[in-house]
Symmetry: C3
Subunit: 181 residues, 3 copies
Amino acid sequence: MILRHRLDPATIPAKRLPKTSPAPVRVLPNTGFACRTHTESIELKTQECLQFIDLTDEIANIVQRSQIQTGFANIQTKHTTTAIAINENEPLLLRDMKRVLEKLAPETDEYLHNNFRIRTVNMNPEEDRNGHSHCKAMFLRTSETLNICNSRIQLGTWQRIFLLELDHSRERTVSVMVLGL
Amino acid sequence: MILRHRLDPATIPAKRLPKTSPAPVRVLPNTGFACRTHTESIELKTQECLQFIDLTDEIANIVQRSQIQTGFANIQTKHTTTAIAINENEPLLLRDMKRVLEKLAPETDEYLHNNFRIRTVNMNPEEDRNGHSHCKAMFLRTSETLNICNSRIQLGTWQRIFLLELDHSRERTVSVMVLGL
Amino acid sequence: MILRHRLDPATIPAKRLPKTSPAPVRVLPNTGFACRTHTESIELKTQECLQFIDLTDEIANIVQRSQIQTGFANIQTKHTTTAIAINENEPLLLRDMKRVLEKLAPETDEYLHNNFRIRTVNMNPEEDRNGHSHCKAMFLRTSETLNICNSRIQLGTWQRIFLLELDHSRERTVSVMVLGL
């Protein structure tokens, strides 16, 4: 089903890729059927700040249940103090990434968002001092869209899909929609 | 229409989520109709560097006009010195985020891109010294894809969709495409 | 085919956009046909750390070959130490962006992921000391989704699509899926 061919060299931006080998390209054939969607929400409770929760198997199961063979899976968090991250699930690396994230927007910095004496907007009784969480989230992603071929998400060897908690332990929801044929 | 069920415990990565409650999952049924698209461009003039422009209501209206009930809304900026950001619209928080962004790639740093004595590529008469804007954009997003169920974008309580201006006041275009059933 | 109209002023969030001009919106008409997909993998060998490889022409060709007129192109890297970046292809700017990326997660920092005396997970014979690459990737993107209208990706004047190598010279694969009508 997979046709492997090389691109015509003229289509490769030669000036910018002087030493690369020509880029082989694999093509999957077109199909023309009715489009379907399948949507699930993953609801979970996180435990702590900067927890990486590996949802890869969960999301692969959703794709299986969708019975969609080719299309997109869009993974979207519904919170402003979490993120969707795709990276390797190696415990020491997760600690490295936490350190770099913390350096970028330290919890110990002063945030105007945490100053409840001057703040008036979006205040509620159980308001958290989570300015650092929002500022970390700004550099991360609300959604990642992944390609599905032959009913499988096109993930590389080390790619795992995480929900990353940037605030404290909370109830969280991740929306997963599969759309395709 | 929403069937709520629990995942089989075997599908939860137990080692990584030792203390979480099992993840309940909500499933929306499949449908099989012809796919449609609806595309609009939001054109606006920004006022200043690091302005957050809340486009959420605008985009919700586009989804309404699309009459698409289930699918994706893809929000894409057409500029290299703006970004699409999803976060809380709390004025003090916006000031916090500007501060952290400015720390990451300060406007006052020296950028080779701003050195018009040595630069030869992509120069034009009204060229801006906006190396900092491009460097900030690198850590932000050109596009975010959001799930639509029952004609509504699946946004959480505090999620708002912003165009973030990283350069000075300019004419800007955001492309919004809704695709689905 | 493009109808240009202005939004009803009531739909503009006036409080947040006090000085902007009203946002004109261009609308493309709905269509209702069978959805198709077209998938190609771009395989290439990168040369060095922090190399930006411009894949824009390659991806435009894929969209042309797909014969899809309206829909999404999703560009997804299959690696945890590369990223998809959309920015201007100006050689001096690329050097600026490398500098800011290196400042965020320097190769010379100590990473637990690089400490092969204590690390036990995901070890293999040719394991790289690439903690910095993963930490840089955390702030960048695995995927970007772009809108296609009239068989063209809706890119702005300066927007180019890059694969960004965050590790050393390696064989890399980028998955491109076009889905639409």
